[in-house]
Every structure is written in C-alpha cells, then in structure tokens.
Symmetry: C2
Subunit: 131 residues, 2 copies
Amino acid sequence: MIVRDFHKLKDTDKAVSDARWTSVRMLLADDGMGFSFHITTLQAGSEHTFHYKHHFESVYCISGKGSITDLASGETFQIRPGVMYALDQHDHHTLRAEEELVMACCFNPPVTGTEVHREDGSYAPVAELAD
Amino acid sequence: MIVRDFHKLKDTDKAVSDARWTSVRMLLADDGMGFSFHITTLQAGSEHTFHYKHHFESVYCISGKGSITDLASGETFQIRPGVMYALDQHDHHTLRAEEELVMACCFNPPVTGTEVHREDGSYAPVAELAD
C-alpha cells in the first residue's frame, strides 16, 4: 500500500511547475498502477492550451471556477467544483481559471514524471521518453 | 470530450449505494479511458473492509477525516484532505470514516458499473462479469 500526502509532496520534486500552474505527482508510472494521478493547481486569471495526443486524461474540479473550450467544436463548458471533463478523443483544448482551480487528474498511460509540455501542448509518448 | 457534473449524476443510476457509502461513477469502462473514476462518499461513523483482488485502486481524500488499516501489516494511516492511498498490492484493508469522507477514486481495470462487493470485499474480475 502506498500512502502519500499532497501537503508534504508539494514541497518536493514531485511538484512540477510551468507557466502559472503546478502539478503534484501523487502517482507516477513507476508506481505500477497503470495510470498516474496528479493534483494540479492553475493560477487565477491564467489560460492554458493543451493537446495530449498520446494520453487520455480526466480532470475533476475540487475547487475554483473556470471554463474549458473544445477547440475542435468551439464549445465552452463551465468548470465548477464537481465538474469533470475527460479527453477521450485526445481533445485539443483551452482551460481558463477565473479563480484558482484545484483539479484531480488521471492520465493513461501514466506520466513518468519527466514530461514537459511541448510546443504543440502535448506530452511526448512513452516510447519517445524511453529513447 | 466528455463533460459531467457530480451534482447532476448523484441523482441518477450512476450513483451506486451500499451499506453507508455512495459512489458516483463519473467515468466507467465504456467511456474508453482505460480507467474508471468515481466520487465516493462514506458516512460518518462507518467502517468498510474491501479487498480488490482484481483491480488497482487509488483514493484521494477531498474532505473529511478517517483512517485506513492495511490488514496484512496491521499498519494504520490517518486520512485527511490531501492524503492519497493506492492499493498497488491489491491490499486487503479497512477504511473508517470518523467524519463523512469524500474520496476521488481511480480503478484499473475500469469498473463497468455493474459490480457489487462480494462477500470477500472484492469486485469480480472483468472476465467473470462478461460471463
């Protein structure tokens, strides 16, 4: 059994930051669960465009207020506590935090922890990371 | 892109209840994400023994207060907001809710939605469900 505390991990190298967001990696590929699990905090007023071409991701809003736009359809959905979106089509999307958003995220395949967002908003596929 | 709201699903057949807990299935096997994602609420004062012999599960505490005991080692860990446990060894465990616990749960393989806890605290493996 693995037991971990967000409040401890957030001050370690398990907290990965980029422009106006921080993601605490609670579970990664080497934990052997077959998915990774992150608590991601997006700063109030920030906007992010991501495109996980090689991963499925689900994102559940724990707190905050914002919106997500599906860039293929142009549709926008409100993000509030209790709302989840799932990128089942590897959807290219823009996320906006009106207030600070705290999100519980699951990735399949699991993130290894070394990924950074590439220029196209994606993480590299596992095979490329292994190169 | 799938977008769902816990506050709407909790009044539908996506909310599965058993003795003193309710699990809202936000994502299930047929969503094709490769994992399922549930928001599970355990009543204050309740105690639950589970043994997912055929699934990996991670559980992140959103709110509430309780504890988990690993029945193999006898160790007990406090559950507070921000604490996650992951049953990477299919660990047989007892969960206690001192206050109402709200937990974000990921299952691999994904739950299909029809599972009930069997007498041994497990869910049936996918192959048996298909029988």
